[in-house]
């Protein structure tokens, strides 16, 4: 299965390591499989990432409907650094807990472009396709995301 690791990585970072990440990945792979007939793009990876983001969004909406109080993704505690997924295999060198925490603390629209660029090494164009935003927006979010991350790592400040 191509890009399964990439899908898993994005899902875990979107959910900040939540247990629902695997369900989102499975949902996305099945949707990709079913809708392949209609795929007219050039690259599979950004297409799959788009589906994965939709699955994540659907999961959040479903959660909202089921929860008494609306649950905002940004109100979830950053749990990625706690490593709550014993079955997941993570590559980690040294003590990067603080780094993971800082990434998880980024607002989701910045977090996803940072992940897609820095960990998936996707081009601006592919990130724009995956996130359904113009390239200019990808560029400014990436700049802001990096700046926020730097601030988080150096001073623990949230604003820049």
């Amino acid at each position: 299965m191509p890009h399964l690791d990439a899908a898993t990585n994005l899902a875990r970072w979107l959910t900040k390591g939540g247990a629902e990440a695997d369900d989102i990945v499975q949902d996305a792979m099945l949707r990709a499989y079913r809708s392949f007939d209609g795929f007219r793009g050039e690259a599979v990876k950004p297409w799959l990432m788009t589906i994965l983001r939709n699955c994540h969004r659907d999961m959040l909406e479903q959660k909202k409907r089921h929860a008494a109080a609306p649950l905002d993704d940004e109100n979830q505690p950053p749990v990625a650094a706690e490593g709550p997924n014993p079955e997941g295999t993570a590559i980690q060198s040294g003590d990067n807990r603080l780094l993971d925490k800082a990434i998880a603390a980024l607002p989701v629209e910045f977090r996803e472009v940072v992940i897609l660029r820095e960990l998936e090494e996707m081009s601006y164009r592919d990130i724009a396709t995956a996130t359904g935003t113009p390239i200019g927006t990808v560029m400014s979010r990436l700049a802001r995301g990096r700046a926020l991350l730097k601030a988080e790592l150096t001073g623990g400040a949230h604003g820049v």
Binding site: M1, D5, A7, A11, D22, F36, F39, E87, G136, A143
Partner: protein
Amino acid sequence: MECNQSLQTQAYLDGELDAAQSLQAEAHLESCAECQALAADHTDMKAIMAGATYHRASPELRARIGAALDGETKIVAMPAPGRKDRFWLGAGSGAGGMAIAAALAFFLFLPGNAVVVSDLAEAHQRSLVGEHLIDVASSDHHTVKPWFAGHSDVSPPAEDFKADGFTLVGGRADYVHGARAAVVVYRHGAHVINLFAWADRGQSLPSSGLRDGYRMILWKQNDLDLAAVSDVDPGELDHFVALVKKSQSRE
């Protein structure tokens, strides 16, 4: 305060600019302290992010999705007539080659079902380039069919369809989809048709496939998994398969 070239500088640092734009960005970098600081941060960030956790799919998740996809392909394996080609060829009906290539690249990595498609295409190609097209050369049904009894796990149909333009030229033993397969070889004009047969072990099959320009039609009959692979015209391959099915039903 913020330099209005900073996004362009970032794009340069990310390797997103062409040669002409890169020259401009480099010239700007030389004189802009703010962008120089950005470049230093960019280098730092790259080193830092190398330490971020990359969440790979666990073997459990991989297996779970594989099982779910296998469930999907069972439905796909026996679609209504006329739909099967559209499913596998999908993009071929109107979109460009890139979409087809991407579609195949995606499917060919799928578990189980897609493996058989690539296995068959490879076995077919092997038979064309090597000397291994035929182990027993005969146009006689009564020679080819008994030969398989001693060289293969299954006894495939080996009827000559010369009257319809498909000449039986022989048979061979091969290995496909993790099983020993009997292959009946036909010629149709300048084209070779390999008819693969192996024991049905209850695995689902795609109903058709396309790889490297070779079309294949797969089906189950008489406890056999059968696959016809060739580069003949689609209509001719359908015709051939219909003949084999008819002959099989008489077995």
